[in-house]
Symmetry: C2
Subunit: 327 residues, 2 copies
Amino acid sequence: MNHEPLLIGLDAGGTSTRALVTDRHGRCLGYGVGGRGNPISAGPERAADGVLDAIAQALAHSGRSLSEASVVVAAMAGMRATGDHGWLRDRLVTQGFDGALVFEADLLATYFSGAADTFGYALVSGTGACVVRVQNGIIDGTGDGLGWLVGDRGSGFWIGHAIARAAVQDLDHTGPRTTLTDGVLARYGLQRTDVRQFGRSEELEQLVGLLYGHPPIELAGLAPLAFEDSDAVALGILTEAGEHLADTLSAVLTGPGPLVIGGSVVARTGPVRDAFLARLGTAADGLELRPVSDGAVGAAMLAVRAAGGAADDVILARLTETLAAFR
Amino acid sequence: MNHEPLLIGLDAGGTSTRALVTDRHGRCLGYGVGGRGNPISAGPERAADGVLDAIAQALAHSGRSLSEASVVVAAMAGMRATGDHGWLRDRLVTQGFDGALVFEADLLATYFSGAADTFGYALVSGTGACVVRVQNGIIDGTGDGLGWLVGDRGSGFWIGHAIARAAVQDLDHTGPRTTLTDGVLARYGLQRTDVRQFGRSEELEQLVGLLYGHPPIELAGLAPLAFEDSDAVALGILTEAGEHLADTLSAVLTGPGPLVIGGSVVARTGPVRDAFLARLGTAADGLELRPVSDGAVGAAMLAVRAAGGAADDVILARLTETLAAFR
């Protein structure tokens, strides 16, 4: 029986939570997935449920208990500043945990999922978009991550919003025709018609009514349409998204280093990635792009570091390899 | 005592409602202002209150009663299609009205506030933005008016949103410095500081928190900042607004005619108007720009027309002149 203390890394997001149980040698001993884990968006009780479910699953794999864990690192957006960690600490303590609970930025976990270097960058473009510069192992520069209303340029929301506007302008004859319109209409169960009233098509009135009937953030769900069906309008949207992300990165770029890529927008090759690299120009030469699926490995790296271990390339490689058996 | 039937024109908006009492000769006999008059945004009861208050004030001026009115024309956004007019009809009938109640588009009332020609255009850019083409006295072409999320390009909301994004990008160092930032910070009771956390200023975090704490449409309230304090960034925003409005107009432009201008964005001379005309190029030569303050006169013109009168240049001039004594 292994009596070395357990280390737990949590990558807690707005949709799901990942927990990775490891030790100071970086062996993945268990892995679990739970529900929504961010108390800001999901509420503290539901977020704690999501986190505890993920931990329970991961511990079940390892055959160990929470009382054997010395460190839990919880990587999530927006929790560093608040200082109010009772919503999670109390639940962990109830289950026997008496170690250190540390909160870290989700972007730092993304970074350490792809790099062990103390200097580098992470760029995440999923529903939102954010870039960080890491120096001496901590975040010392941030670009964007400012939400759908005034930021997140080049994100999935940004792309979906641009698609919705392109479809509406097509139907309004204030913008070019695009095959995106058919995809958007189909998504909302509508069809092109010849019915016009006051010089405006019926499907435009219906589409606009439906678009305003949902939370704006749901427009992110339209983003895949631009990747599936790239006419000139779609290509223009994807190109602009890539350029926005390059501009956001440029604002924190101070030298060469690894660039860890999270979220699906830049992770896949194609128009966004091409425009992103073209816009960076020669600055891209010093960057080593490393797509990662999420921040689970990085959260475990941060847990190793918090326990006084060396979160280096050997640990990163071992965590990545041994996790593979669990998912 | 004048026994000629009264005609009432209503210009009912999201913020306030205007009522103009006239007769078939186009003399303004009374004028009143009430509260919010659109049942879609204000709810039917509150909207009916706003409308009835405006009518009561206007009738008080004329010394006549609602039972003497043969026609009420209510010009407002989005009410033509619904067909459900009971929210207003019932309240009018209760007060003795037994004439015809007709709903018209707010943009048509704007148009007839500045022109009696059966062919022409109206462009409104206030909180929202919309353009219509009028042919044979009815709207036969519409551009934009599609709301803050997917339309209203060049509107007060659009300008305010661009200002908010410019300020946020300035503070985030992902955009150029602009004096707009100081105006936006002051509007939210914030100041520039040197406090930085994770490479981000404290006032940026605070500003973003405040921006997301209000309904997006309130960003329209920032629009005046761009007119007050025009550095290069502000000028760029105003120029782009003017170009968007020209593009929207171009989508319905089929020939020369009067162009009635509602809302404050294009009504005032300056960068928006300049960019608007420059973008239209030679197409602007055939347009006669006529700023109007609202749709009250046009609603009265539509009431004269609904009563079988000739809503011509003579009536337009008389309504405009005789209304002046009331406001």
